[in-house]
Symmetry: C2
Subunit: 316 residues, 2 copies
């Protein structure tokens, strides 16, 4: 059932304790959202714990440093930024059909929770949570502000993507006015600009691997485990490369393919008008109009053919 | 003399016609500012012309397309985003000592104009012009909004840099609310993400050329004319590479050196705390705390030694 702020407030104020689920391959928005909700619940005197199928990447330490919370049998289950229970990984079996409240902004949200606070016009789940906290009359803490800013900035591509609205900028202005002592530019630097020497080299290598299809309208980069081990990089280090696939002026769709232990994770990006969420849905995935994904098993060459065909249908 | 909005308004409303000078190596902010002022003057029934030492790069065609204006002998001279008359290039001799109004946000502004509207807390000169238009009660046109958004976005690194304030976000929110039909994400894509195949290759090449000094605290990339001709790139195509010099986590200062016909253009970037404007001032240049520059003649190796020494003094 879709709910509004008022019902979400009622739910949060009345829960005894909660486990907060974020999605696998966690990004700034789900981590920020998870720890922001934890902080808000703490202000209400409610114990909670943030969980994720994967470890949180090291560069988010400044958000997770307070700790995810000790283990306990939760009375309430909250999912943040999780469009589909499949994205819970190992937690799907335990909590997939027990989610009481889901807070999300993905248009592909499967409406799997008992109550869903969904705002598809928000650039980030963290933007929804800011509005919710404001609605509830809760003054967010400095740490909560850091969580929310990071989620909004990362999910909007630092306010670059079409998901960025006037309201996104207004919320950001309010957060910045409230906590002028947060080093926002430093957060941005670590989220967007800082790279290890290895990553800079990797990016150069990936740029050499761009394959173009459909008269350059589709660009694909595919990274096999062989290439990963040759480069000495682990899965963790492959977040954030998808935009490389839409660098070229003619590119309408880009796909960054990364081999995992038993399948290929395909991250789609749209340069402008093409709705890649719709393409991904035909392949069993989903996401946003401009950034979506799906996971496919099989042989890489066959997968590429399948992807090219799916994109051809959508754009030609 | 430094002036406020009121005096700037009086000046603009009373000028008969004006030439608007932007700085050499024009960027989104000076081009946006120049054409925004031209648009505002047009709304007031005042003829104007935008001039620049260099051609405006092609990717700004959507801002300059109305034309820079026909030639005429101007009664008023306005400089936008020009901190120093030296930056006027060939127009320094003609207009350098005749500037009636300068609108700028650079702390290094030399106060060379008769009247200077300087707001060093603005992320862009375009942010100052938005505030000025609002103060004057002028409803900006759609084209003016595109100019101002582009200037603000490009000069703030798409809201990433420390120069971005709550007010920067508020102004942006207002512009976006007023003209929801502007394709802001498309502008951002062309300003920040789209690269030619050659540029992607060039970036990979430049990344291989990063030299580290002072225990990795300083990174330098230097591009000689030899390398440029080898790569078949012209001067125009070298804008925007300076951030590559502060990609590494340890980097505190980065310098992107580009050889020109008779000197080397050195673009400094600060990763966080170091004020590179101060360093550049010791070398005859200037700019912002986080992004500044200077031009030095001589032998490249000697120049590098000089630069390393100047940075060492500032950070060690």
């Amino acid at each position: 059932m879709y709910i509004g702020f008022s019902e979400a407030e009622t739910f949060l104020r009345n829960c005894k304790d909660a486990v907060i689920i974020t999605h696998r391959n966690p990004d700034g928005d789900c981590i920020g959202a998870g720890f922001a909700i934890k902080e808000i619940l703490k202000q209400l005197g409610i114990k909670s714990r943030v969980i994720c199928h994967d470890d949180f990447p090291k560069r988010y330490d400044f958000l997770t440093q307070g700790g995810a919370g000790e283990e306990f049998e939760p009375q309430a289950v909250i999912a943040v930024d999780v469009a589909d229970t499949k994205l819970m990984g190992k937690y799907q079996e335990i909590y997939g059909d027990k989610v009481n409240l889901c807070i999300d902004h993905h248009i592909s949200n499967k409406n799997y929770a008992e109550k869903t606070l969904l705002r598809v016009d928000a650039a980030a789940t963290c933007e929804v949570i800011y509005d919710l906290a404001k609605f509830m009359g809760i003054k967010i803490t400095k740490h909560c502000a850091e969580c929310l800013y990071t989620g909004i900035a990362t999910d909007s591509g630092c306010f670059k993507f079409a998901s960025t609205t006037p309201h996104t900028h207004e919320v950001t202005a309010e957060i910045m006015r409230e906590y002028s002592d947060i080093e926002f530019a430093r957060i941005n630097r670590y989220m967007f600009d800082v790279k290890s020497v290895g990553r800079v080299k990797l990016e150069s290598r990936l740029n050499e691997m761009i394959e173009t299809y459909l008269d350059g309208k589709l660009c694909i980069i595919s990274v096999t485990r062989e290439i990963m081990s040759e480069l000495g990089m682990n899965d963790d280090e492959f977040e954030g490369f998808a935009p490389l696939t839409i660098q070229y002026e003619n590119a309408e769709v880009g796909i960054f393919i990364r081999q995992r232990s038993d399948d290929y994770k395909c991250s789609f990006r749209s340069a402008d008008k093409v709705n890649v969420s719709e393409i991904c849905e035909t392949l069993g995935g989903g996401g946003h109009a401009k950034a979506a994904g799906c996971n496919i098993s099989g042989n890489l060459d066959d997968i590429k053919k399948q992807l090219v065909e799916a994109v051809r249908k959508a754009i030609c």
